[in-house]
């Protein structure tokens, strides 16, 4: 081998670095080029994702806005001439609905449509049109004694003919009624306060929205305290040994388990029955209800909250703990007075990510029966209910064309709820972060 050269004597004289040489210039150019390439790649990635988002939003809004508007027809009515067999007393009694129905109101409305809009006039009205008239009469009984014009919902086919998507008879009707100036477009309040229906004109999102809110409430009430307390225990109290390592690995894996597995778990545990010693036990929770959906989703997002909370707690500088312990704070005071407030922004972020995931979840809820056809919003946590994403899934599966715009409209509602939730998270985070 070579013997070590004594540096001073034998090393060749080093030339001073020529910073202006061609080789140097080339290096510099290459470095700048690499920098530019990377910046462009990054900007490209951002543009692509922004484009996807914009495309999604534009299609949804383009299709969905009609879901928020309704086509109504101004129907001239003469209920006095129709000679309904209804008395004033009946109108003021709880049986008013029944009295009006059996008194021939539906027929009277259809006759009025024929009179006003021509022989096929009745087919322009939505099947629920007479219900609108009924409600109007109940609000104002004098309608029975005089002529009046009432706005009633148009049939789905008529609504589609309006966008050039209906059959010939309806198209003719649209042309005729346009000339009569009887077509109105208004905000679709029905969509906001009704529930599912087989008729796209009569469907509403409120049932699913309320179901979602109730389910989320259960999810939050279970997942947040349990998740945060687990995180505190694991970080601050649990001894570091093989068991806690095992728990940590399990939690990390649980966060990656596909959501449908949690649906199966919920189905088996909460809705399952067990036969023990000849007696049948269970199910623990009612099918299709927000409570079972909420508990199932809570199990699903708990690992996410635990992991985020543990990281947030880990991020609190140990010097703060030392400071508090050093003046005699007990471990629990250290946690609640110092660690938690500092970790809260991170904990909230993790919680919101988990809640957003739960809000958009469909698969596990299908398994526990939250895909039922729900025509009345759930009145309690144990009533059958559905949730926004499942409602979207159900409507997207409908054959009737009228459901397309309702599906998009429902997606917009879901996005709005998501945005509201994220907004709340950002607000809370800033509130806690800017305190000092």
């Amino acid at each position: 081998m070579t013997k070590p050269a004594s540096p001073a004597a034998h090393a060749p004289e080093r030339q001073p670095t020529d910073w202006k040489s061609a080789a140097m210039q080339k290096r510099i150019r290459r470095r700048y080029a690499a920098e530019r390439r990377f910046r462009m790649l990054g900007a490209g990635a951002v543009i692509v994702s922004a484009a996807f988002l914009a495309f999604l939003l534009v299609t949804m809004v383009a299709q969905g806005w009609r879901g928020f508007t309704a086509t109504e027809l101004a129907l001239p009515l003469d209920l006095k001439a129709a000679q309904l067999k209804v008395t004033r007393e009946q109108l003021n009694s709880p049986a008013a609905d029944l009295a009006l129905a059996s008194g021939g109101l539906e027929e009277a409305v259809q006759n009025a449509a024929v009179t006003a809009f021509g022989p096929d006039g009745a087919s322009f009205l939505a099947p629920s049109a007479w219900v609108w008239v009924r409600d109007a009469v109940k609000r104002d009984p004098s309608l029975l004694e005089r002529r009046a014009t009432i706005n009633v919902p148009a049939a789905t086919g008529f609504d589609q003919a309006l966008t050039g998507d209906g059959d010939a008879a309806m198209e003719a009707g649209v042309a005729r009624l346009t000339r009569q100036n009887a077509i109105r477009r208004g905000f679709n309040w029905t969509f906001l306060h009704e529930s599912d229906s087989t008729d796209p004109v009569a469907v509403g999102i409120w049932g699913a929205l309320k179901g979602s809110l109730m389910t989320m409430a259960i999810t939050f009430l279970i997942a947040f305290p349990v998740g945060v307390l687990s995180a505190i225990y694991l970080e601050e109290y649990a001894p570091k040994n093989r068991w806690t390592d095992l728990i940590e690995v399990s939690i990390n894996n649980l966060a990656a388990v596909p959501s449908i597995i949690f649906g199966l778990l919920g189905l088996a545990v909460f809705l399952g029955t067990w036969e023990i010693g000849g007696r049948v036990y269970g199910p623990m929770l009612p099918r299709s209800a927000p409570i079972v959906g909420g508990v199932t989703l809570a199990l699903m997002i708990m690992p996410v909250i635990v992991i985020a909370s543990r990281n947030a707690i880990k991020g609190v500088p140990p010097s703060i703990r030392d400071a508090a312990l050093g003046i005699g704070a007990s471990p629990i005071q250290v946690v609640f007075h110092h660690v938690l407030p500092l970790a809260l922004p991170g904990i909230l972020t993790g919680t919101i990510i988990g809640m957003a995931r739960a809000l958009g979840e469909t698969a596990p809820l299908l398994l526990i029966g939250m895909r039922a056809f729900i025509v009345t919003p759930p009145g309690s946590f144990t009533d059958p209910a559905t949730v926004l994403p499942v409602q979207i899934f159900l409507w997207s599966d409908e054959v009737s064309r009228g459901f397309v715009e309702k599906t998009s409209a429902a997606i917009l509602v879901l996005l709005a709820v998501l945005l509201a939730m994220n907004g709340l998270a950002i607000y809370l985070r800033n509130k806690f972060e800017t305190r000092w």
């Binding site: 001894p239 570091k240 500088p317 010097s319 703060i320 703990r321 030392d322 400071a323 508090a324 312990l325 050093g326 003046i327 005699g328 704070a329 007990s330 005071q333 007075h337 110092h338 500092l342 000092w436």
Partner: protein
């Protein structure tokens, strides 16, 4: 060891050893801490000064692998006895850390926190009085009295360290442990801290860890020199610096290593 005597001391350590797992960081150390004297721990980095200091308020309890043997007493009572309440002990034996660590709260809250959790203030005005007195004793009052609601972390390093001293003082401790309280500070802030230690002496028993021998000579009346976990020499500061008995002490204070 000349300074060790059976007379009642504020705190005494007898035959204290500390282990981190199997590794012994402090080896059979005995020392006394008295009210009217500032005790300095000097020695090269890693020789166990901080570890030993933290046995006096049982801060080592927070380290899972740490184990302490021997006896440490406060007013004659064994602080590692089962009936000693750690929370109360740490109120009586306060601590100031190497890196200033104010809470990310207002200056007022930083000082008020201790009295509040220990229930030392009967009323709001009482609490305000405690805060003012503590900040005055820590020599910080004049600088912060107009901005008590500002964040403690917005102060300069030296001010933060004095705030931490005020925070320790506010719970009315008997002993104050300081672990290199000025090592992260500039010379002017350091001088202020040293001055403060002079003023606090007598009211509190003070133990200060420092790797700066001049500082030990300036602020302390008694010095303990540690090396590799052992207490090499312990005595009156003047004697130790002018006439060290041990060869290793002499090497250290003449700058041969460290």
């Amino acid at each position: 060891m000349t300074a060790l005597s059976p007379a009642p001391h504020k705190m005494s350590a007898r035959g204290v050893s500390v282990f981190y797992g199997d590794k012994q960081a402090v080896k059979d150390v005995s020392i006394d801490v008295d009210m009217d004297k500032v005790t300095a721990f000097i020695g090269p980095s890693g020789c166990g000064k901080s570890t030993f200091l933290r046995t006096f308020n049982r801060m080592n309890d927070t380290i899972a692998s740490a184990r302490v043997t021997g006896e440490i007493t406060l007013d004659g009572a064994d602080i590692y006895a089962d009936d000693m309440d750690v929370v109360q002990l740490r109120a009586r034996v306060g601590m100031v850390f190497q890196k200033p660590n104010p809470f990310p709260k207002s200056i007022f809250e930083n000082v008020a926190y201790g009295p509040r959790i220990h229930g030392l203030a009967a009323s709001k005005s009482d609490l305000e009085a405690i805060v003012e007195r503590s900040l005055k004793r820590a020599g910080l009052w004049e600088e912060v009295k107009d901005r008590l609601s500002d964040s403690g972390t917005a102060l300069s390093g030296g001010q933060q360290q004095r705030l931490c001293i005020a925070r320790a003082i506010a719970v009315d401790p008997e002993v104050i442990l300081m672990d290199e309280p000025a090592s992260a500070l500039d010379p002017i802030a350091t001088a202020k801290i040293e001055e403060l230690i002079h003023e606090l002496r007598g009211r509190y028993a003070i133990v200060i860890v420092t790797h700066n021998m001049q500082q030990a000579a300036r602020v302390s009346q008694r010095t303990a020199f540690f090396h590799l976990g052992q207490l090499v020499e312990y005595g009156e500061t003047d004697n130790l610096f002018t006439a060290p008995r041990e060869e290793r002490t002499k090497d250290y204070i003449t700058g041969r290593y460290g």
